[in-house]
Structures are given as C-alpha cells and as structure tokens.
Symmetry: C2
Subunit: 449 residues, 2 copies
C-alpha cells in the first residue's frame, strides 16, 4: 500500500494540483508545491466577495456595549419611565369613547361601496362614467372624512389619529388599485369578446383553479385583498402551500419583542431628550437626537416590514414576501426610495407612474409627480393627527428631488451609499424634530414654566 502511494506520487509530482497530504508517514506528500495558489484578497474588489453578515453582529455588539453604560446611567437618572397608564392614554383620552376604533370600523362602508359599484359595473347596470364618478366620490370622502373627524373631535389622540389616517390611506390606495384592475379586466374582456377567444382562456383558468374576471367580485376576495400585505390588487395572488407554524411563531415572537424594545426605548430614551431641550437646532447639531431616532427607525423598519408583514402574509398564505429590497446597499437616493417600501413603490409604479407615462408625460415629470404625491401623504399623515400644519414633512419629501439629483450626479459606489445613509441619519430626524419641538412648545411649555 505504501509503495503504491509512492508510485502515485512520483507520477503526480511536481504538478501543483491540489492533493490531500497523507498522514501516518514521516514526510508530507507535497514538497511545498501545493501550499499557495493564485487568488485575490477577499477585501479586494476583484474577489467579488460580499458576505459581511458578521459585520451586522459587530454593529449589534458595539451598539450594546457602547450603550450599556448610557442605559444604566439613564435608568439611574430617570428611573423607569415606562408607564402602562401612559400607554393607554396615548390611544384614549376618555376611556368611554373609542373614536379611533369606531372610525376604523366605519371604513368598511367605503370598502362595501367599492365592491357594490364594481358588481354593478360588471353587470352593466352602471355606465363606466357613472361608476368612475361613484368611485371618485367614495375615495374623496375616504380621504377627507377621517381627517375632518380627527381635526374636529378632541377626544382623538395623536397616536389614535395617526392610526386611523394610516388605515384609511391604506384602504384608499387598495380601493384605487381594485378599481383600476377591474376596469382593465372589463377592457380586456371587451377586446376578447370581439375576438371570441374568451371561452378558451376561461377553460384554462378553471383547469388551473384560477379566478377569472367577474368571479372575483366577492366579499371573501375583497376582504382577502384588504388584509393582504400588498396595495396592488390582483385576481389571483400567488399563495404559499401551507402555514409554516414555526415561521409564524418566530415572526410573532420577533414582533412582540421588537415592539416592546421600540416602546421601551422611546419612553426611556427619546422622551427625556425631547423634554430636556426645547432648542431643536442645538440638539440636532450634537446628534443626541439623531442616533436614537435613527435606531428607532431601523427597529421600526424591521418590526413592520419584516416581522409584521411576514407574519400577516404567513397567516393569509400570501406568497409574495418582497416587502423591501436591499435598500441598505443603495448607492443613490432614487434607489433607496424605490426599494425600502416595496408595497407603496409597486402601487406608485403601477397606478400612478406608468399611467402618467402612458398619457404621454415625460419621465422627469412623472417622477416628480410621484414624489409630490408621496410628500402630500407624508404631510397628511403627520399634520392632521398632530393638528399642526407646518409643511416640514412635505418639504422633507420634496427636498429628496434635488438631493437625488445631486447624489446621482456627483457620487458613486460607496460614497453614494454613505451619502444616502447620512441623509437618512441626519435628514429624517431634522423634520421629525421640527414637529416634536413645535408640538411640545404648544402643549407643554405653559405647564413647564
């Protein structure tokens, strides 16, 4: 056996191809020819290596270690600031009236109106023009009614108002998509009726157990769409084969844990900073507000876009889990806005940007219009619940346009990525701080002094 091995080796020696060193003899089988091979360092761009998973853990460890002392100091200085009564008071001013919950229940009326209108349109009982008018009125009321209630009824708290307006905005976008898709379906079936090919396509549909046009106008289908984690309606959503219990429980656990961490951090970390300083620019410059605000935003992102939406999707067996793409690698501001919130991005692209292009508007104009719409909703969701019209959110969103131009024009690669991070870390808290400052000045200054 030993002889045979030696024979083998004298044949392969001195070729430098990989060879496992034999163990058990007095010398290794490779006299120094298999030790090195031509290769690049991992951190050289030529290596194509990109797995920095460990760096995420490094961040967590560094954050925990460098904040452990701050955390202890904070606890010793302020004590435990989390107060269950305060939590309830965020949502309720008067425990016997639940205006926010009532408003959310009322939103079903608008959903049912949209469904009823579509049914009538599918039967031909309503003309397309009348149907469009009904939809428009329905959506206009959907936008203004909750805002009016939140502004006029004093028992709606800011958090409650934000929750209501958020829900109504989501329903509005969903119903808009519902109307559009059903209209497209009617348009296509008219075309097909002319070509007599409808029966064929519907047969294949039935074979694949898919729904075709008028068959989707059911209460069950409508409410599946309302609860599904997407804003774009589709007749046949991709479905996952079954609910994975372990996945569901993991996401649920994450949701609860992250929610508690966010809530605790907010009470313990942000409120003292806000209360102790009424000079926003000074706070802003020394970054004691930016870093917690940014970390809370990151936690919120994970909590909402990863844990909560995945939990809902798993529960509804909704197949498409792309709620965000790799915005953390974005090298331009545009890439960031296109990838951090995929449901909204998808809606804007399908129901706003592309229709504008189809009507002959330029790309530049359509893109600006999307930012304008987004700016309007940002302002709507902030100003109305806080009952303060300051336009900071609107201007913050609109400022993204020149920023996107600047970063796209002058910065590439990692520099572009760093610029995006800086705009998120510094820019976003700036707008938030403006509101926070004004809100505290209005509501608490007289009490404090």
């Amino acid at each position: 056996m030993a002889l045979r091995q030696t024979g083998d080796l004298s044949r392969v020696y001195p070729a430098s191809r990989p060879m496992t060193a034999g163990i058990g003899s007095s010398a290794p089988r490779d006299p120094g020819n298999n030790c090195h091979k031509t290769q690049e360092s991992l951190l050289s761009s030529a290596s194509g290596y990109k797995n920095y998973r460990g760096v995420l853990n490094w961040c967590v460890v560094m954050l925990v270690l460098s904040n452990a002392r701050l955390f202890l100091e904070n606890l010793l200085r302020y004590g435990v600031l989390v107060d269950p009564i305060q939590v309830v008071s965020l949502f309720l001013n008067d425990p016997y009236s639940w205006p926010a919950a009532c408003l959310v229940i009322v939103s079903n009326v608008f959903i049912l109106v949209a469904l009823y209108t579509e049914r009538q349109l599918s039967k031909g009982s309503l003309s397309e023009l009348v149907g469009l008018l009904v939809h428009c009125i329905n959506m206009a009321v959907l936008l203004t009614f909750p805002a009016a209630v939140v502004l006029l009824v004093p028992s709606v708290t800011s958090v409650g108002g934000l929750f209501v307006l958020g829900t109504y905005t989501i329903v509005l976008l969903k119903l808009y998509s519902y109307k559009d898709v059903n209209f497209w379906c009617r348009e296509l079936s008219t075309m097909k009726a002319k070509k007599l090919s409808r029966s064929l396509s519907c047969k294949s549909h039935i074979r694949e157990r898919k729904v075709c046009y008028p068959g989707n106008l059911t209460l069950r289908d409508m409410y599946y769409f309302i609860f599904a984690p997407t804003l774009c309606y589709e007749l046949n959503f991709p479905r996952s084969p079954k609910i994975r219990m372990s996945f569901l429980l993991r996401r649920l656990f994450e949701m609860v844990r992250k929610y508690l961490i966010i809530f605790f951090s907010f009470c313990q970390w942000m409120i003292p900073i806000i209360q102790s300083s009424m000079k926003p620019l000074e706070v802003n410059l020394n970054l004691s507000f930016q870093v917690p605000n940014h970390l809370l935003w990151l936690m919120f992102f994970y909590w909402f876009f990863h844990s909560s939406l995945n939990f809902t999707a798993e529960l509804l067996r909704f197949g498409d889990r792309q709620f965000y793409k790799d915005w953390w690698n974005s090298e331009s501001v545009t890439y960031f806005w296109q990838n951090w919130n995929i449901p909204v991005h998808k809606w804007c692209l399908r129901h706003f940007y592309k229709p504008l292009l189809r009507r002959g508007f330029s790309k530049m104009f359509s893109q600006s219009a999307v930012f304008f719409l987004s700016a309007f909703f940002h302002e709507y969701l902030v100003s109305v619940p806080l009952r303060m019209f300051r336009l900071w959110a609107f201007m913050g969103m609109m400022a993204q346009l020149p920023l996107a131009w600047f970063v796209g024009r002058f910065l590439r690669g990692n520099y572009g990525n760093a610029a995006v991070w800086i705009s998120i870390i510094i820019g976003q808290p700036f707008a938030v701080l403006m509101y926070v400052h004004d809100y505290y000045v209005i509501h608490y200054r007289q009490e404090g002094e």
Copy 2:
C-alpha cells in the same frame, strides 16, 4: 400593430408569466396578474441573501458622526498631541546609535547560514543529522540573540525592540519552513531515484519553466522567499503575470493613509486615556479604552493584512493574496484563529500541526500545542521589548482554549459570531491594558507624582 398586440395578449392572458407592460395605450396589458410572485423576504434565512456591503458604510458613517463631537472636544481639550520628535523617539533613544536597524541587518547572517547548510546537504557534503543540528543551532540563536540584545542594550526602545523581534520571528518561521521543504524534496528525490522516474518529471518541469530541487538553492530564490508575504516555502510560488500599477498605487495610498490615521488616533485618543487613568479595571469596565483599542486593531488589521501585504505581493508579483479569510463571519473561536492570519495559520498547519498528527499525537493535543506555541510567541513579542515578564499575553492566548470549547459547545450561528466579537472587543484590550498599566506605573508614575 395595435390589433396584432391585442391578439397576442388574448392568447397569453390569463397565464401569469412575466410580461412587459406596453406603454402608449390607455390600459396596461396585464390586468393585475403579473404584479406579485412567490418569493421570500431578503432578511428571511430562506432567501439565502447575504449582501450587507451597505452595512459597512453605515458603520463608518455612524462612527464618524458619533465621534465627530468627541474628536472636536478632544482637540479643544488637549490640542494637537502628535509630535514628530516624539515619533522619532519611539524608535531612537540616541540618534547616533541605531541598534534596531543593526540587528535587522545582522539577521542576514542567519539566512545565509541556512542557505549554505542546505547547499551542503544537497551536495551530500553534510549528513542529514549534522545538517539538522546546524539548523537547530542557527534557529536557537535566531530566537535568543535578539532577545538578549533587546534586554541588555538600553538604547533599544520598546517599539524598536518589537520591530526587531517581529522581524526575527518571521525569519525564524521562514527558515524553519525552508529547512522542512528542502528536506522533503531530498526525501522525495531519493524515492524517485529508486524508481528511476526522475528524469521524466524534471523534463516536464523544464517545459513548464519550473524549478526543481537542487536548482532552488540560490541567493535570489532565498531572498524572494524572505521578502514574499508568506511563511511557507515553496519551490515554485504562483506568480501574477505583471505588476498592476493602479493596484500598487492604490494599496500604497491606503497604506500611508491608514498608517497616518492609526498613528494620529493613537497619539490623540489612546495616550490621554492611558495617562489619565491608572486604574485599569475601572477603565476597562466603562469601555473608554476598549472601543478605541478595538478600532485601532481593526485599522491595523486592514493596514497590515490588506494594504501592506497586498502591496508587497504586487511588487513581487506574488500570486497568492489570501492573507486572511472571512473571520468577521466566524461563528466559533477556532474559526477566528484559523482565518484572521492566514500566513501564520498556514505555517502552523503545515510545519507544526500536521507533523504532530503524523507522529501519532491526537488532534486535541496537537491543537493545544499550536495554541501553546502561539502563546509563547505572543509573550515573547510583548514581554521582551517592554522588558516586563507578566505572562498576560501568554495567558490570554491560552484562555482561548476553554473559550473555544465553551463557544463551540453552547453557541451557534449569530450568537457564536457575537460571542467571538465580544471576546475580541473586550478580551484583547484587557491583556493590552494590563501591560500598559504596569508599563506606565514603572516608567511614569514617579514623574507624575
């Protein structure tokens, strides 16, 4: 054209395969069937997604932003602490005697002795036993002579001593590898002589322009190995085709920049911390020492293992640039030690661990022996230049063994990775701080008080 398109569409509708929406008509071509597809979220482990390059930039931005204020405060408080005279004094006590440089020049004697011995062995003028004896004496002197000089000559500074001992240790490991590989070559050629297959293999060698055994014993080959960024000798190193000037200049620029940053940070950031506190445990607990020490270590890693070694390799057209692997993702302590310093790991594996296994020792024993050897050299490189024998470095390395067992036994995945990071961030500075504290107590306390 429009008709033909419609015809196409009635055929593909309602199949849900990807389709580009036509622009220019009044309605999109897909009535809501191509909007979603089954896919996982990127952060779910099922997606297999691992590109977190942007997170590295996030770290840099967060570090810069959160340290900008500290940096300004430091400058205002201490002024510029970097002093070119002090830099020189780190290396020289007396500007007319350069003991460290002389010692480095003397190391050539040992290299030439090793080469001469190998030449005599290849000719058969020395027996294997005598050759081994000469090598052993040569290496023993190589280890003890510089240590004796550093300990006995007071004009050698600590930094100079570290540099000398580092150089001598590297030469020692290289010469050990040189001796081993040449011995293996002689052993193999004896085997081949018995099988009469030598002429054949050497012909193929000449065709491939490769060196075969006694032909490698030249001054040129020896000095190429001494300067090459590896500790393992090989007759035919893989070579890169040419020197890429842009790569060389980029690495040079990085080297100089990182060196200046490290030097500046050390003077400006570490020295005040060290001087202001003589109570190591207190400093250690509030992490004001750990974080700068860790960041300096990371910068040193990049400076030495990426920039400097790649620069040398490019200059020498040395093909194997694997100076480190992805230790930042390491999920066990063992993986970290196997991957952060590939030249040393390769040497240990080839010239220490595998020979031990071949002699019948157990894996456990051989692994412990490697850690013991490593601990010895850590202590040698720290204690001798500082002229303090405290065993902290030795114990720090030996403590890796139970730590490796604990992490490997109880922690997996990201938890293991976090444990490795914590041991690097907390553990390493602890040992460093012990020396620093003792050094300052011995040398500066009397001056300060």
